[in-house]
Homo-oligomer: 113 residues x 2
DNA sequence: CTTTTGTGCTACTAAATATGTAGCACAGAA
DNA sequence: TTCTGTGCTACATATTTAGTAGCACAAAAG
């Protein structure tokens, strides 16, 4: 895996050189499994393998890569006892994720005619 | 580009067979440039090329692919005169995107010590 | 002590996806 | 007719992701 640099605010990222925080997070969350990982950790910390199971057996290569990036961005932290869990910063993102979930429900109800 | 099926609610998607709407949207928005495209269209419709420019010269291949998926999901529509714009459904997602932007600002302020 | 189980993690090859460049057909304006 | 701008496509290349196997370590069980 030729690992691209983890997107961080105030740094140029893939698709934007401005360093604007929104660009960094759009890059980070636009990578496969990033959003899903945050979603699966919304209730409680999970171990590497539990998280892997929750994400439909995502390959450990990518999971490891995403965890590394999310840790670099301080969105998740790793505690030897608990496993991987959302940081305080990431928990402030939870209402947004839940709003996304609510939105998805209405989106679904519109798809079915 | 071997195009994967566009994620839709009530259908199995990459990473989840449940058909739950949140899984479809996590798959869709987790593809490169998806979130960015919605973000760039937040204020007004853009033509293909304007959108391409806004997204840091993203290659037309991928842009075309994403637009196709987002149209299949009824998140964006194409009007001959206007270009590409958010659907009514997608506009209801805008507060969430703006919340993400706000969150990113505080996230950034925490990174710099 | 020896085995078993669970942890995080890595190497390696193959497949899928994104990138970059060039260019097409069409429409409207000059 | 020529010039722009539109949406879009082909193709070769590079990057990212997937899939499989397995490692070292630690704690618990036998």
């Amino acid at each position: 895996m030729a690992s691209p640099k983890p997107p961080l605010p105030h740094h140029p990222v893939r698709g934007s050189t401005t360093g604007r925080p929104i660009m960094a997070i759009l890059d980070l969350l636009g990578r496969r499994w990033s959003l899903r990982i945050l979603w699966e950790l919304r209730d409680e910390p999970l171990t590497f393998r539990a998280l892997q199971g929750a994400c439909d057996a995502v390959s450990p290569t990518v999971l490891q890569q995403r965890l590394k990036e999310l840790r670099a961005a301080r969105l998740i932290s790793h505690d030897a006892g608990q496993g991987y869990g959302l940081s305080a910063t990431a928990r402030r993102l939870l209402p947004t994720l839940l709003a996304l979930n609510d939105w998805a429900e209405t989106w679904a109800s519109e798809e079915e005619h």
